[in-house]
Symmetry: C2
DNA sequence: CGGGGCCTTGATGCTGTTCAAATAGAGTGG
DNA sequence: CCACTCTATTTGAACAGCATCAAGGCCCCG
């Protein structure tokens, strides 16, 4: 059981093109970039910061769709409305491009790159789905920490999200996440300096555990 | 908690275009259309039959990615290899198109339609992910039966897949699926003529249950 | 130094899994 | 058409993993 790490930053060339077509906007931590069920007129490229997308259910349950980092696309929709809401976890800068503009752009490079970004997001969502369907709590947390560490280009990581966000991403409760984190630390796989900062101490073992 | 039904058949116009570009192939039930980790040279459109995509883990766990019906695309990949395998649940007919051909086609209608199909599959995968992350066993089975019924354009449905496939799609065991099916029937929400044929008897109640 | 989140830990219970066995159904050969 | 076999499905009982409920601790920041 090995889930490949799937990067999905937009190609740099695309960022440049989007820069010409789009509008640069900034959002502060805690604001809302777009809300669930809002009109999906814009597509976004994250220039700086970290963003999460969330689906809320009427009875209070939450599921986080994904966390996005610099270079990532988000807000792609087939229909007229956003099916998740997007909120920054840190102050952030985004590039917003009108869908109507993209539809009419005749640049093969741009349209191809957006298709590619869509497929990458599909692949990431599929891996996320596999995790929720078939991994244990421990495996999920191990996978998550590995992915965060990977994305930050180093053996260690700082978590921009809290335990509740991790839980809602992993399909667990905050208590279970906390317990698994403690357990992984006790087993010597990772070392936490504080709740938001850790280092992977036994990469190979953690990888095996993540399944 | 309401998960919208997301159709994702390829637009008819696209089917025609693919017909000119691709090769028609037939597969018998039990054959393999493509295997996990095989080269992903081709993209497929299902013309007739039902197909499932599956991811196998080294320890035997399985997760079904999706079930595909006539008109659906499958086999789209970003990387060079298929990350799921595809197998027909019934004898089926597919149209296979070379990725390299699609890359060079300059028809905006075709490329746009493929992008659209990709986004639809992304949406479906996201809904699947939400289900695995936050729904109870009963809600999952109820959602599944509703979706099958929906897709078959009627209040009833015949299940082309067995209980094990349902379980591997829903992230449950076969026993739990069976129990929930029995429970839904005992509650009068659905009626099974036999294990593979059912009718939804209380649509609104089932919808509420599916959350 | 004190307040308020956020995080951790403990005790208990429920949901879904596991293991085991019975039943129903489909396919086959007589 | 019936008997037989093999597989798929259902059901039961015990168990495990994660959730829930409830404190307690830590850390950031005034």
């Amino acid at each position: 059981m090995s889930l490949a790490y799937v990067p999905y930053a937009a190609p740099v060339a695309l960022g440049d093109a989007m820069d010409r077509l789009g509008v640069r906007m900034t959002f502060a931590k805690g604001e809302e970039i777009f809300g669930q069920d809002e009109d999906a007129d814009l597509i976004y490229v994250l220039v700086e910061g970290v963003v999460r997308t969330t689906r809320f259910f009427s009875d209070g349950r939450r599921q986080i769709g994904d966390f996005y980092y610099s270079g990532d696309f988000f807000g792609l929709e087939t229909g007229p409305a956003h099916r998740f809401c997007a909120e920054p976890l840190t102050d952030c800068v985004v590039l917003a491009v009108k869908r109507s503009i993209l539809r009419n752009v005749d640049d093969r490079q741009i349209s191809g790159a957006i298709w590619e970004a869509t497929r990458r997001e599909l692949e990431r969502t599929q891996e996320h789905m596999l995790m929720l369907g078939r991994k244990s709590a421990c495996e999920r947390v191990a996978s998550f920490l590995m992915e965060v560490a990977h994305r930050q280009e180093g053996a260690g990581g700082s978590l921009p999200m809290g335990r509740q966000d991790m839980a809602d991403y992993l399909g667990l409760t905050i208590e279970t996440v906390s317990r698994m984190v403690s357990q992984l630390q006790a087993s010597g796989f990772v070392a936490f300096d504080n709740a938001r900062t850790f280092r992977v101490t036994r990469w190979d073992a953690l990888e095996r555990l993540a399944a």
